[in-house]
């Protein structure tokens, strides 16, 4: 479903701040794979997400989704294939627009936007049912401006929006990191349900190793712009946080003890 082939990206090339963020990443996902990505700060997790999402062009290598080579597509053109949820709950939704308007925007992801009405009556009914599943009471507030919702509510809405039009790939970039633990757990549970019900292929960056082990069928560890560990299936299920910490220590030569991952 997703093929990342030998992707390189260096920021601020040729300056004193040169930062080789991705140094030849290869990752192939099968349809239905749900991979969690962990790694220390600056390991290249979010950079890898952005390379797939097309926030900027990569220096080298290719990104192929479902047989379509999207390496040369700008961000808005890739959107037809991707559902995205961001770290900042404010990023995924339009604050001054109504809940139902946000959903209607997402329902037209990747389609030509013409002069037909922005939201139909059938859609409203459909959204009402979908919002009920979130169990946040949003179904009765469909004309409320999204800016009035809490971070957790907005993140749940973003998740719904990302999966409304079934994406080939769902990108979750530390999407629970800015939420309180209780809300984070709820959003994570919702993530699992949505991925499962829609049989989505998904990538999730996280700083929480327990979540990384618990969620999905595959786990990838990054360090200094490379994938240093890739595990799936039964082997992944048997992992413990201590195993991952050990891996990190090996990779980073002991420095890892100071990393904020320890706190997770």
């Amino acid at each position: 479903m997703l093929e990342i082939n030998n992707v390189h990206k260096t920021f601020n090339k040729g300056t004193i701040n040169e930062k080789p963020a991705l140094q030849g990443v290869d990752l192939h996902l099968n349809p239905g794979d749900f991979v969690t990505i962990i790694g220390g700060n600056g390991a290249g997790k979010s950079t890898l997400m952005n390379a797939v999402a097309g926030v900027w062009p990569v220096d080298e290598g290719s990104v192929v989704i479902d047989g379509e080579n999207i390496t040369g597509y700008p961000e808005y053109r890739r959107a037809k294939l991707l559902g995205r949820v961001f770290q900042d709950p404010m990023t995924g939704t339009a604050a001054t627009m109504e809940i139902q308007e946000n959903l209607a925007l997402a329902a037209r992801r990747g389609e030509r936007r013409g002069l037909s009405w922005g939201i139909s009556k059938e859609e409203k009914e459909q959204y009402h049912e979908m919002l009920k599943i979130l169990d946040l009471g949003l179904e009765d507030r469909m004309t409320t401006k999204v800016g009035l919702l809490s971070g957790g509510q907005r993140q749940a809405l973003t998740l719904l929006m990302a999966s409304l039009k079934k994406p080939k790939l769902l990108l979750l970039d530390e999407h629970t990191a800015a939420l309180d633990p209780k809300t984070a757990a709820k959003v994570l549970e919702l993530t699992g349900n949505i991925v499962e019900e829609n049989e989505l292929t998904a990538m999730m960056v996280t700083h929480n190793m327990k979540d990384a082990i618990r969620m999905g069928n595959r786990l990838v560890m990054m360090h200094e712009g490379r994938i240093i560990y890739d595990v799936e299936g039964e082997e992944k299920k048997k992992l413990h946080v201590s195993d991952l910490l050990e891996k990190f220590e090996q990779a980073s030569g002991g420095e890892f003890a100071n990393d904020r991952m320890m706190l997770a």
Binding site: Y76, A79, G92, M97, L105, R113, G114, W117, G118
Partner: protein, 311 residues
């Protein structure tokens, strides 16, 4: 100043003219509303494109083109001006205010060329058919009102469509819009073009109304537009409150323009120096723009915190 020496009748008799002029400027203010509020783009092109609209309309009319057709051409010329600003911003990465200023300054020369190198060109209502004129204020009120209402209705529809929603989301959250597959450069350019089209249409109406176009007629237009937008918002929210929908907002922008010109009429009636008018306008707009910020700050001020913390 002796207020008793002023004749209330002259104020009253000037009122319909002020309203007509305010309506025409209200159409311009709707264009400003589109960029300033919906797109969150401070577009200074309007000072130039307003005069362009006037220049194009007058030159076409005195060369035998029917006035309604001249209005249409003015609209399209304004769109072109907006297109240039949009491309300067999106294709060449020039900051929004600067892109507008570049277009505006370029339009000054272009407007002079349109007007055969003259700073102003007259169009007499005695010689040509004009859609509005200060010599026929009742008709100007009806025609101006109909055009303003038509613009509001079309925009109310347009911003409810898929494309219009995409423009609104572009202004609100560009990152989210791109993630939803919206080409935000395209939506920005389109909005700027439409906005300046309306501004030029308004300029074309004003030139006919006053009977001439002037290369300086757009000077400070952005501030008048903002004044109308803000006065309209404050009034709309005060009178209708939370039930103020998008249609109401657009309507109140035009109302804002009318009120602005009624106030201008009042100021002139009180024999205040008309040269100071732009100063007054700037002060009023600055105050209204500052109020929401200051209100928020007074709720959340360090001085307040210090007072509480000192106890």
């Amino acid at each position: 100043m002796n207020l008793l020496a002023l004749n209330p009748m002259t104020l009253f008799s000037a009122l319909p003219g002020n309203i007509a002029q305010g309506m025409i400027w209200g159409i311009m203010a709707i264009g400003v509303y589109m960029t300033f509020r919906l797109l969150r783009f401070s577009d200074l092109t309007v000072d130039g494109s307003f005069a362009t609209g006037g220049a194009v309309a007058v030159m076409l009319i005195i060369n035998g083109v029917p006035a309604p057709a001249a209005l249409l051409v003015s609209f399209c010329t304004g769109m072109l001006a907006g297109l240039v600003t949009g491309l300067l911003h999106t294709a060449f990465g020039i900051p929004d205010i600067l892109s507008g200023i570049l277009s505006q300054i370029a339009l000054y020369s272009i407007n002079l060329r349109i007007m055969d190198g003259k700073a102003n060109q007259a169009v007499s209502v005695d010689k040509y058919f004009l859609v509005v004129s200060l010599r026929n204020i009742p008709r100007s009120l009806i025609v101006g009102g109909c055009i303003a209402l038509a613009v509001i209705l079309v925009l109310y529809w347009f911003f409810g469509t898929e494309l219009g929603s995409a423009i609104r989301s572009t202004g609100c959250n560009p990152a989210m819009s791109m993630a939803q597959g919206i080409n935000i450069n395209a939506t920005k350019v389109l909005t700027l073009a439409l906005s300046n089209g309306l501004v030029a249409l308004s300029g074309a109406l004003l030139a006919q109304y006053q009977g001439f176009s002037d290369v300086n007629m757009g000077r400070g237009a952005i501030v008048i537009g903002l004044a109308a937008v803000i006065i309209g918002e404050v009034m709309g929210e005060a009178l209708i409150g939370k039930r103020l929908n998008f249609f109401g907002r657009l309507l109140f922008v035009v109302v804002g323009g009318i009120i602005y010109y009624i106030v201008v009429g009042l100021v002139l009636w009180m024999k205040m120096p008309s040269n100071d008018l732009k100063l007054f306008t700037a002060i009023i707009v600055a105050i209204f723009l500052a109020v929401p910020y200051l209100r928020e700050k007074s709720r959340n001020s360090y001085a307040k915190a210090a007072k509480k913390g000192a106890k």
